[in-house]
């Protein structure tokens, strides 16, 4: 799994490594100068407690570093996602 089209990822389900579904991918932010991918913007499911996460309006922001795998689901490492937030 190396290269994917951005449009293939939109509306994909996002799941953490402990099996919790977070929601669907809404967008990805990038750094235009370095071409690096910065954050995932996730539209959270109704039953998800979003208080633990960094947010932008109604969307959860997860650093792209926390992505473990992308195929049928986007799998993110919850520990890294939260660790990054507290270190900031």
């Amino acid at each position: 799994m190396a290269k994917v089209f951005a449009k293939n990822l939109s509306s994909k389900q996002v799941m953490t490594t402990d099996g919790t579904e977070l929601g669907t991918l809404y967008n990805i932010t990038m750094d235009l100068d370095t071409s690096e991918l910065v954050d995932l913007m996730i539209r959270p499911d109704m039953n998800v407690d979003t208080s633990d996460f960094q947010k932008d309006d109604q969307y959860i922001l997860l650093p792209f570093e926390s992505v473990r795998a992308i195929k049928d689901y986007i799998v993110v490492d919850k520990k890294i996602a939260k660790g990054m937030q507290s270190s900031e």
Binding site: M1, A2, K3, F5, A6, N27, T29, M30, L32, S35
Partner: protein
């Protein structure tokens, strides 16, 4: 500068010589290296791309700047120049 990827969709792509290249329709992401590697460009300028396909993929390293439009390095003319030089030799 940071931007949401989908905000770039539909932007016109020009070279720094002012030649129209096409419109961004998608992006190629390298998930393992966390980078954008390419722009999928459609509605391409057939004068510079002699291809039967709907669009082309342009490496992101050619991008000089992007805001209201995207400007890429003018490699088309560069190739022409190289051809000319080779011919003269």
């Amino acid at each position: 500068m940071r931007a949401e990827i989908s905000s770039l969709f539909g932007l016109n792509v020009y070279t720094n010589a002012g030649t129209y290249v096409g419109k961004i329709s998608d992006m190629v992401l390298d998930v393992n290296n966390r980078k954008v590697t390419g722009l999928a460009v459609s509605d391409i300028n057939r004068e510079i791309f002699d291809v039967p396909t709907k669009g082309v993929i342009i490496p992101y390293r050619w991008v000089i700047t992007s805001s209201d439009i995207v400007i890429i390095r003018d490699l088309v003319n560069k190739f022409k120049k190289l051809e000319k030089e080779a011919y003269q030799e």
